[in-house]
């Protein structure tokens, strides 16, 4: 097994006048070649900050990386100089952003923008770069690449711009592609197009993908593995099947239950997760989810749960998985674990 990316105990804070916001509080995960992993969580849970920290794109100040390492094929990205990092960005790690409206340069032809990266990283001449850019436009499904090459971003619709972004980030065949909410700004029918495209590209180029999203729905289709983040920590991680069919963390339960099911005819009440996520300027001592958790134990108040192995490759940070919690599980109306 080749570990492509290894993130260990990443901690990121933002220093603001009111104090220190601990946005990411110790995130550990790894990514293998050609694998696609989703980081799912609500706004403010630290999923985007994690991605930006990996890309070293955080503005500092106010952001500071407090601890941890990000190893790309054994090289710690956090130790690289800005110059080395520039060489790496777009070349070995590509990134797509949420808003395709603002992530393209409005004064530059789209084709040129794609070719620019190729020229920069692959050391080829103008002609070769253009050929490569046209290939990429073909790959992401531009109907008329030659004409599109000479158009400006404002002539593109939202979906087309996101395609252009994908073409740009994949032009140098990066090993890892980080997609930060790539479909959030798009309509459902366009979202379906983009997801289909990402799946297709993944198969063809064997790129590892980190998909960051708040929508559990789109993950099921594209990814192999899911990590659920809450209040700056990964609370549960496992394969798609683990997370959707045998979720172990009450937060994951809550997320799955709070979306309406299409297959039911009856109009039933949704089950929301009550309350609000904690303000990470004053992170809780115990489990961060405890105040909103129906199944909380006394231990959750003071002690932050470690990761428990629920099955092979399936982990959850919840005290309910502790062997001593068997009796309590029954008391709160959960099945005992075998």
């Amino acid at each position: 097994m080749t570990r492509l990316l290894d993130v260990k105990n990443l901690k990121v804070s933002f220093l603001i006048p009111a104090g220190e916001v601990q946005a990411v509080r110790g995130v550990t995960f790894s990514l293998e070649k050609g694998e696609s992993v989703a980081i799912v969580g609500e706004s403010g849970c630290g999923k985007s900050v994690t991605a930006h920290a990996i890309m070293r794109l955080l503005q500092s100040p106010p952001a500071v990386i407090r601890d941890g390492s990000v190893l790309l094929e054994g090289r710690n990205l956090l130790d690289l100089t800005e110059k080395e990092m520039q060489k790496l960005r777009g070349n070995e790690i590509g990134m797509i952003f949420q808003d395709p409206m603002t992530s393209l340069n409005p004064t530059m032809k789209v084709g040129k923008q794609i070719a620019e990266g190729v020229k920069l990283h692959m050391n080829v001449n103008e002609k070769e770069a253009k050929r490569r850019a046209l290939d990429m436009e073909n790959l992401v499904g531009f109907p008329n690449p030659e004409r599109r090459y000479n158009q400006y971003p404002h002539e593109f619709s939202g979906g087309m711009r996101q395609r252009a972004m994908i073409a740009m980030s994949l032009a140098c065949e990066p090993k890892v592609l980080i997609a930060d909410e790539p479909t959030t700004a798009l309509d459902v029918t366009i979202q379906a197009q983009i997801l289909e495209l990402m799946k297709d590209i993944q198969k063809r180029l064997d790129t590892a993908i980190i998909l960051i999203t708040h929508d559990l729905g789109i993950v099921a289709d594209v990814c192999h593995r899911v990590m659920v983040m809450y209040a700056g920590k990964i609370v549960e991680s496992g394969s798609i099947e683990d997370i959707y069919q045998y979720p172990e963390h009450p937060y994951t339960w809550g997320l799955l239950k709070s979306v309406p099911r299409l297959d039911s005819q009856e109009r039933h009440r949704l089950v929301p997760i009550p309350g609000q996520p904690p303000d990470l300027i004053k992170p809780p001592v115990g489990c961060a989810f405890m105040p909103r958790c129906k199944y909380a134990l006394k231990v959750c108040v003071e002690h932050d749960p470690p990761n428990f192995q629920a099955a092979d490759g399936h982990q959850a940070a919840c005290w309910l998985l502790h062997p001593d919690a068997q009796a309590a599980r029954e008391a709160v109306g959960l099945e005992a674990r075998s």
């Binding site: 603001i16 006048p17 009111a18 106010p62 997760i273 009550p274 309350g275 609000q276 303000d279 300027i281 004053k282 405890m290 105040p291 909103r292 958790c293 129906k294 199944y295 909380a296 134990l297 006394k298 231990v299 959750c300 108040v301 002690h303 005290w319 502790h322 062997p323 001593d324 919690a325 009796a327 309590a328 008391a331 709160v332």
Partner: protein
């Protein structure tokens, strides 16, 4: 797994789920936030301190000497004296105490600055707010009027006013106020245009709020930041404008004096009695510099993009 945690803790914890709607962070208003940022800006604070000192001196300065600003001593041993313990800044060609006159001049200059900024604020904000919010033909007409007025050269305008009204402090105030509100009106209109499509404005309309209420309760308070910065920067501009009007002989009438007037008088005797130019020139520069630095700092402090 070795775990020091007592088994006792593995019991259900009864609590009110999700009741925690409390807000952890202390409440800060927009202005508190801006003040905090302003305090961190050393230059702006220095500017503010200088402005405050100038204001205090403009009020009490003339009373610190036994002389009045217009008391002449037309005896040669009292005229054109350099600095001394009796006359701190010396005297002018009519034997008047320069220290008293400088602070009296500062009083007049600052008054001109503040009053014209206030006039500009009142007219410009109301005019721009109404024009921007109502839009359509009202906006067309109001903006054409502004364009016509700003097409008239400032100097021509002042000379005309001087002919019609009698020269003096209030004429200058009217002239400056009448010119400067134009650009304020444009600024406010621009701000209002960008704000009026905001959903909170739509919400207020949906609630049945009158245009008047929307302009003064919703739109103006939200463009107060740029307005305030603009007003602050308009003060030195007015002081400056008055100074060069004085040069042209269109300033306040003697024996009253503004800083600009004193500079203008001092220039004629620059070779023989340089202090007569130096003191008023120094204080007028200091005032304008202080206002400008403070205004720039204020702009940084009020910039909503920095807001977290």
């Amino acid at each position: 797994m070795v775990d020091p945690i007592s088994k006792m803790l593995f019991h259900p914890f009864t609590h009110k789920i999700g009741e925690d709607e409390a807000i952890v962070r202390p409440s800060t208003t927009y202005w508190q936030d801006a003040w905090r940022r302003l305090k961190m800006n050393k230059g702006a604070m220095a500017g503010l301190v200088i402005v405050i000192i100038m204001l205090i001196m403009a009020i009490i300065g003339p009373y610190l000497t036994p002389y009045t600003y217009d008391a002449q001593q037309l005896v040669s041993e009292y005229t054109n004296l350099p600095s001394s313990s009796e006359h701190w800044f010396g005297t002018d060609d009519l034997g008047r105490d320069l220290f008293t006159r400088v602070w009296h001049g500062a009083r007049v200059s600052l008054l001109i600055g503040f009053v014209s900024a206030l006039v500009q604020f009142l007219i410009g904000v109301t005019y721009g707010g109404i024009s921007g919010y109502l839009g359509g033909w009202v906006d067309e007409v109001m903006m054409r009027i502004v364009e016509v007025l700003s097409g008239i050269p400032f100097l021509l305008y002042v000379v005309l006013l001087m002919v019609v009204l009698e020269p003096g402090l209030h004429t200058i105030l009217i002239a400056l106020g009448a010119v400067y509100w134009l650009s304020m009106a444009r600024l406010v209109r621009g701000q209002v245009l960008s704000l009026k499509e905001q959903e909170y404005v739509l919400a207020a309309r949906a609630l049945g709020a009158s245009p008047w209420r929307i302009i003064f309760r919703h739109l103006i308070p939200n463009c107060m930041g740029p307005i305030l910065v603009y007003s602050t920067l308009a003060i030195p501009e007015a002081i400056f404008a008055e100074a060069w009007l004085s040069f042209l002989g269109l300033g306040v009438s003697a024996p009253a004096a503004s800083l600009g007037m004193l500079v203008s008088d001092g220039i004629s005797s620059i070779r023989l009695y340089p202090w007569q130019l130096f003191y008023p020139a120094f204080f007028i520069s200091l005032t304008i510099l202080a206002f400008n630095i403070f205004g720039d700092g204020l702009r940084d402090a009020l910039d909503p993009r920095l807001r977290k």
